[in-house]
Amino acid sequence: MIALATRQELSDFLAETERRAYKQAMFAVHDDHAALDIVQDSMMKLTVKYASKPVEELPLLFQRILQNTIRDYYRRQKIRSLWTTLFSAFASNDQNKDQEDFNILETLQIKQESNFGQDPDKQLERSQLVDLIERSIETLPARQREAFLLRYWEEMSLAETAVIMNCSEGSVKTHCSRAVHALAIILREKGVKL
């Protein structure tokens, strides 16, 4: 007997996943509207095409759809930037942010928000740390970031991550290891100790 996902289960799953999915898309595309579009597209594809799947399969399916939608976005951006480069000498380089040499740490800003009931120093320190980590993750190459987030944030197994990324488990290990080392170097350079 196959236990299929009910509407409520699907809704709960999406509600639990949507923020992380949005953040993942933001790390990848650096654009609020594009990230929201990607998450919406992914949700739509999941409910339209995979509503009849068991609830346990939803995380893997959703991550696969999300990563494919992000890759589609990259492809479209690449084509668009190619045409822009061909037809305009004044094209901006904003769309090449995903390249490895882009250092978003240089744009780091301290958040001005404060929460009541907590030590403001600690609050600020943590807020800065979170900002630093988010921006460090944005600087990672796309495949390393994808592997890192799937393995450690989404807690996918090696095999699941390999399926989502369409590569071998060995490649996943390599990408993860490089991502963690790159993050460790950035944090060390900034004098952060976790």
Binding site: S11, R19, A51, V130, E134, A184
Partner: protein, 122 residues
């Protein structure tokens, strides 16, 4: 701190960030995106009778059947057109044959391109 520990620490901070640092307007948009997606929720399974008091599960295959039907119609149309044109060609040559046998070939047949074509058709 080893690789696993660092990864998990970073993941914890990312969780905090996802819980606290997403703007309210973004949360509303995510919520409405979720609702829009759920409006398309239609469990696609249906029960099909497979005989002997058993049943099997299957999905909607209407689009697939429609596509196959369309393809079949196109193939039939192409086949019928080919047969029709071949029949017309044969009919044209048969008419010239009959007129020659009856010694009833009009004079303008000799200046007609189709007559040369007929002569070369052997």
């Amino acid at each position: 701190m080893n690789e696993q520990e660092l990864g998990k620490e970073v993941a914890k901070l990312l969780d905090c960030s996802a819980d606290e640092n997403v703007k309210q307007s973004t949360l509303y948009r995510l919520q409405s995106a979720r609702r829009a997606a759920l409006e398309n929720y239609q469990p696609t399974l249906k029960v099909m009778d497979s005989g002997s008091n058993t049943s099997i599960l299957g999905g909607h295959d209407g689009h697939f059947n429609a596509g196959r039907l369309l393809l079949l119609l196109v193939i039939l149309f192409v086949f019928a057109s080919t047969v029709y044109w071949q029949f017309l060609d044969n009919d044209k040559y048969a008419a010239i044959d009959t007129r020659i046998l009856a010694d009833d070939l009009p004079i303008d047949a000799y200046i007609d391109n189709e007559f040369d074509e007929w002569l070369n058709s052997d």
